[in-house]
Structure formats: structure tokens, C-alpha cells
Symmetry: D2
Subunit: 138 residues, 4 copies
């Protein structure tokens, strides 16, 4: 059962700011990449999920910035599912450059339809999660 | 008849890069602001146009960068309609900091429906343009 | 003594995503605008602060997203200083569309020099803060 | 002699817009990735070049958008050096999704020092280019 995934991300020039560092708002774009690739590694596909009318919307975020990243740094983003319920997913993120932890974060996402109504996360897309859910929620 | 409009844009920190300048890709975001505000000043509204199923898509762009902008610079963007036809609009842009011309650009946009089929630009949204069109195209 | 400031921000097309909403990462760019303008309203200037070798770096963020914003929405961002210490500032943010609260957030920033060493926030730039600090910290 | 390079880029959710497509300004960020990776494949490194006080600044851009890209599309970006002179580089770009050409572009970059003065592109970083230069310019 896969509930953690690592990807590598190289910091783009356009993502840096005048301080010479990766601008902090871009970490949230990276976390989204982490979620997309974790889901793909689980056998799901977020684009197909949206095509079927279900959307994962970010409900809350928290992030601690410990050390800055620079242009062309090759970062490792570790994305982990921390908690699952019927309609919500909590992810935890860690960004490393080599052995150095740069950033840690958590997010909560809710599953909604086009009208914004909360929906059950489809089993077809996330078998491991429902599996995990029974493990976690009971 | 209004076919030129000026707005002021303050350079955001997140828009700068490690060189300390406004990253060049952000000028294209500014030009889009210029088009939105020119249309609003003409009495149109791009959001309403999209809600009615018509979209202005960028077909081509060209841009010359003469001098860089920095964080917190207050820039003046002049947006002008350079040419109009039934389904296309050509805009010209100039970005100034005070009297200094920083950037000049041109874009061509086409009007399409949701399926990407080319459409006539709706008269209701752009009376001046159709007006101008007869002036220019004849 | 000014420790709260409101600005209006119009959602840019480039800031939306395929869901049709303002992408959540862009709120952090807005909060930065709120800090810049609060400091300017206090008589300070962040660009000058950086030119003197002092930088405010984001240490932590947390954000709750209650309701989405769309292209061309005119939002009100309220930025407030929630807590001040010698080297850190805590801001609180609220984003409204009309009377509807869309987003709430908090951030902690630290003052550092070019080498990343923590520094005292300069009095010249933030007289009200030091004033306020004695009020809050005692 | 390597003067062309291909990379694959997956469209990020944050890079899409309310139309459901990759926002056009993001192509210019992609082209920058193409230049970075072409230089790396040639044995150079743009970050080191900047650390030595030399910067490649964009002087002009032109781009034709033929067909849109969507979230999660896996695109191929082909970056080619079209022309070289002592202080300028002209690149040509093509973005494909499978066999479909989505976008074509050209850019001119100049080599400058920290003060913005035009400089000769360092041989140490671009041996192939100087090689090529004699081929092209004569």
C-alpha cells in the first residue's frame, strides 16, 4: 500500500525572487505536484477525476520555512497521506536539498462536485485510501 | 471613441527574479491586465463575454525588452488597439517607468467559442471596435 | 498608530486555474502585497529596507480557504499586525469579496541580513511597531 | 557539436487558467527551462555563470500559439540555437504534444554584467557556441 511518494523538482529561474531564493508561494505549487504524482503512483489520475466532475479543493494549509532554496537547486519533495476521511485528505510534505530539510507543510483537501458540494472521494480513483481509511478511522 | 487606455501597475515582489528584476514572463500577464481594463473602459467586460461562451485567445506575441523594472516600481502600461478585423484584435503595448520606455509589445487575439471555433467578436461587447473596424478595414 | 490596512486587489486571469478559481498559491502573493502596503502606509518602505541590507523572510504561514474567488473579482485584503517582537512580525490577513470572508491567514516573518543572520527590525522603518511592541510584549 | 536539446515538461495545475488551458505566459517560463537544460547538456551551467557576474538577459521574444495545452499534458520542448554572435544568442523553440506542434517561438538574449553592460559570452561556458559562431558568422 503506497501512501508516500518522492519526486525531484529543479528550482526554475522564474520561481526565484529578488532575494535570490525560491519565492515562498511556489512551494504550494510544488506540493500540488507532489499530490498529483502520489495519486498517479497509486494508479489514480487527477485529470480524469476532474473530467468526471470531482475536484479536490484546498481547505487549509500550514507551512514552516526552515532554510531557503536557490535557482537550479534539485529538491526532493516527499508527499505523504497523513489522514483520510470520506471526503477529506490530509497530506504532509517535506522538502529537502540533499539531507537538509528546507520546508515542512500540511494541507487538508476536500472533495467537491462542480457546484462546490462536498462529495465522497471516489473509490475507483483511490482504492488504497479507502483501504487506509478503514485502518485509520476505526 | 476610446481605443487606448493607461493603467498603473506596481511590480510585486513575487514577480521579480534572482537578477533583481521583474521576470520577463510577467509582462505578458501585465498586457492581459491592459486588455481587460481597456475593454472595461470601453464599456465591455471580458468575464461576461466568457460567461456567454466567447473567449479571446492569444494567437501571437512579440515583445522587445529595452530596460528592466524592479520591485515596487510603479509602471505605466499603455494599451492600444492597433488593428481590428471580424474575429481578431491586434493590441500594441508600451510599458513606461516615468518617461523611460521599458518594454514594447504587440499581440494578436482571436475570438473563439468553447470548441475553439473562430467567432465574430460580439458587437454588444465592443461597439467601438466594430465602429473602428469599418474605419480601418474599408 | 496604524497597525491595520486594507487594499483592493482585482483577480487576474493568469492567477486563475482550470477549476475557474483563483489558484490558492496566489493568496500568498496577495498577502505580501498587503504587508508592503501596510508598511508604506506606516511611512516605511520595504524596498529601501532591502537596499540597506535587511530582509523580512517568511518563517511560517497558515491559511484557511473558506470560499473561492474568480477572475475579475474585486477583493478586499485586510492586513493586520498581530504580534511584534524584536526580530519577528506576525501578520493576520482576511480576504473578503463584499461581505463574504473568503480566506483567513497568519504569517510570521523574521528580519535577517544578507547572510541570513537574525537582526533587529530597524526602528527607522517601523516606529509604530516598536511603539506597539512595548504595548504588546509587556 | 550539440546545438539542440529536448526536454519533457508536464503542465502543472497552477499553470492553467480559467479557460482550462496552459496560460500563455507560462510558455516563456518553459523556454527558459529549455535554455537552462540546453546549456547544461553542452557542459555549461547558467547558475555558475551568474555567480561569476555574467547574466543572459532577454532582449526580444516572439511566439506563435497554434493549439492549446491542458493540465497534465506531457509536452516536448525542443530548444535550438539559431544564431550566435559575440554577445547575443538567438534561440528557437518548438513545443509539441505527441506529434502536434502547439507553439513556436524565438528569443534573443544578450550577455551583460551586473551593471547591465554588454559582455562577450564566456568561452569557458559555451565552447560549442564559439565554434558554431565561426561557422555561422563567416
Amino acid at each position: 500500500m503506497l501512501d508516500q511518494h518522492e519526486i525531484q523538482i529543479r528550482v526554475r529561474y522564474a520561481e526565484t525572487d529578488a532575494m535570490g531564493f525560491l519565492h515562498h508561494a511556489n512551494y504550494f505549487v510544488y506540493f500540488e505536484l507532489g499530490r498529483t504524482e502520489l495519486l498517479r503512483a497509486q494508479g489514480g489520475n487527477y485529470r480524469e477525476m476532474e473530467e468526471q466532475g470531482l475536484f479536490m479543493v484546498v481547505v487549509s494549509l500550514e507551512c514552516k520555512f526552515r532554510s531557503p532554496a536557490r535557482y537550479d537547486d534539485l529538491l526532493t519533495l516527499r508527499t505523504r497521506i497523513a489522514k483520510v476521511s470520506a471526503a477529506k485528505l490530509e497530506h504532509a510534505y517535506q522538502v529537502y536539498r540533499g539531507e537538509t530539510l528546507l520546508t515542512e507543510a500540511r494541507s487538508v483537501l476536500a472533495c467537491v462536485d462542480r457546484g462546490g458540494n462536498v462529495q465522497r472521494i471516489p473509490a475507483a480513483f483511490q482504492p488504497e485510501l479507502l483501504d487506509q481509511q478503514s485502518r485509520i478511522d476505526t
